[in-house]
């Protein structure tokens, strides 16, 4: 079980709990604004962009090359950017805080 906190563009804080699947799917299932997950999680749409809190980067890891290529097109991307369809929910990411990019 992992607790994941999303901070939306309107500064709303949404904390969800999940056990498996991707962070994107958890967000979409719970209607987190700004996470659309259009492509269902295969890294082709970049509609699930989040900024990981710097202190949580160790837990989530950094973006893979394919993610980085996708993120390159987003002016808001930085070193803390991830496509959250590529973050698997496990106990290891319990407590992470993700700021929704859009």
């Amino acid at each position: 079980m992992a607790k994941i906190t999303f901070i939306t563009n309107d500064e709303e804080t949404i904390t969800l709990e999940g056990t498996s699947g991707s962070v994107m799917a958890l967000a979409v299932d719970n209607g987190v604004p700004g996470i659309d997950g259009d492509c269902g999680g295969v890294c082709s749409c970049a509609t699930c962009h989040v900024h990981v809190a710097p202190e949580d980067m160790e837990k989530t890891g950094s973006a893979s090359e394919i993610e980085t290529d996708m993120l390159e097109l987003d002016d808001n991307a930085d070193e803390y950017s991830r496509l959250c369809c590529q973050i698997e929910i496990t106990d290891a990411i319990d407590g992470v805080v993700l700021k929704v990019a859009k």
């Binding site: 659309d36 259009d38 295969v42 082709s44 749409c45 290529d69």
Partner: protein, 416 residues
């Protein structure tokens, strides 16, 4: 010496010896739903192809990396050229209306895009999906009653047109008119573009905009007419630009995606079975089908300054194209690129384009495809392909199968 003879159905190898021709070892049967990659050799050897198009030649970028890089660089490779010029075949001679936001570059592009984007995200709403699911279930029930169905006009065109009433939020009955236009509203049968046919659409849209201006409803025309752009309302010409894009961009593409997906499942019954047993992969299968079928082969850009693409000189005011269909088979990115891997996990395909101008209708198209696959898995036991005629695009040096002109099929219900 080994000589290869191909036609659309069979690939035959003939051993030819100096004096005698030994017939024929029947090696491989090419499936009806197989879509060969005509770009492979050129993509690997030099990375770009060339085609002429109404004396405005095009350098076609074939590699995934080059396509994405060029799509992202809107300053050197612009969309906001003369209306119709970035389309291949060029529509410069048949239209003056600028399609919006498609033929506008950043930063203005972003202003337009942010106006229309929320409307085009409506397919994410559950009530939209419920209506779409009902439409698709009805169509499948209809075809199950028939002895045979021509899938392009008897299923895909209907589905596309009816679904478009949801996207436009217009009365369902409007779809009857769009269906009656046939599959070639914007294009005549041959290679040439048909201005008269395009006028049917433009006149229709003009009339709808006038109607909405006089008595607004909650349809897309009315919503656009009421939208604010840089402190003023959108003009009728701007609204027309968005509407033309909406009608034209999602017609052949959706029709081909739907038809090709059905042909694929007809020939691969184990895939239909898999969708039944593992419904959770449906979304991934949709993405994979979009990659494999690449309903839109390519999109052009006009070069704004002398530059190089793929180590090839590209002069200012010439055209390049982003060949999505080729990029989507690039073995540098996709393992087994010529196979449909239904649960492909990482799939950075460019079937909906890439970067600023990625497909505005993608959310709608994805829902159509997802619900279609779900409905087929639920209702169809098997299909038979009776006869068909392939639709081969002539890209000068490349011939690409993009779909079917017609394909007659028999649908058999799932018996539980």
């Amino acid at each position: 010496m080994l000589k290869k003879v191909t036609d659309s159905d069979f690939e035959i190898l003939i051993f030819v010896f100096p004096q005698k021709v030994y017939p024929i070892i029947h090696i491989a049967y090419m499936k009806k739903s197989e879509f060969p990659d005509p770009f492979e050799k050129t993509r690997e050897a030099k990375g770009y192809g060339e085609m002429n198009d109404q004396d405005d030649p095009v350098t076609m970028l074939l590699r995934h990396k080059d396509v994405r890089k060029t799509a992202h660089n809107y300053k050197t490779f612009q969309s906001g050229a003369a209306p119709g010029r970035i389309v291949i075949p060029s529509e410069v001679n048949i239209r003056d209306t600028r399609q919006i936001p498609f033929e506008v570059d950043p930063p203005v592009h972003k202003e337009y895009r942010s106006i229309v984007e929320p409307w085009f995200k409506r397919p994410l709403q559950p009530e939209y999906q419920e209506k779409l699911a009902k439409q698709i279930a009805n169509i499948i029930e209809e075809v199950l009653q028939e002895d045979s169905v021509e899938v392009v006009t008897g299923l895909a065109l209907k589905l596309q047109s009816r679904a478009l009433t949801l996207l436009l939020n217009t009365p369902f009955d409007e779809s009857e008119k769009w269906i009656s236009w046939g599959t070639h509203v914007f294009r005549s049968e041959g290679e040439a573009l048909d201005g008269d046919k395009a006028n049917i659409l433009y006149d229709y849209i003009d009339a709808q905009i006038d109607r909405a201006a006089k008595s607004p409803t909650d349809d897309m025309y009315s919503v656009l007419l009421d939208s604010e752009f840089e402190g003023r309302k959108l003009t009728k010409e701007e609204v027309k630009g968005v509407m033309v894009l909406t009608f034209a961009g999602g017609r052949d593409t959706v029709i081909n995606a739907v038809t090709n997906a059905i042909a694929y499942l007809a020939e691969n019954p184990e895939s239909l079975e898999r969708l039944r047993n593992e419904p959770e992969i449906t979304g991934k299968t949709v993405e994979e089908m979009i990659r494999y079928f690449s309903p839109l082969t390519q999109m052009g850009r006009v070069v704004t300054e002398d530059t190089f693409v793929c180590e090839h000189a590209a002069k200012a005011d010439t055209r390049v194209s982003l060949c999505w269909a080729s990029a989507n088979r690039d073995a540098a990115v996709f393992e087994n690129p010529n196979e449909i891997v239904m649960d492909r996990k990482i799939n950075p395909h460019v079937g909906f384009g890439f970067s600023h101008h990625n497909c505005l209708g993608a959310t709608h198209a994805r829902q159509i495809m997802k619900i279609l696959l779900q409905t087929l898995a639920e209702k169809i036991g098997s299909f038979e392909i009776l006869d068909y005629e392939e639709n081969i695009e002539d890209l000068h040096h490349f011939k690409r199968k993009v779909g079917f002109h017609s394909i007659n099929m028999k649908f058999n219900p799932l018996t539980k």
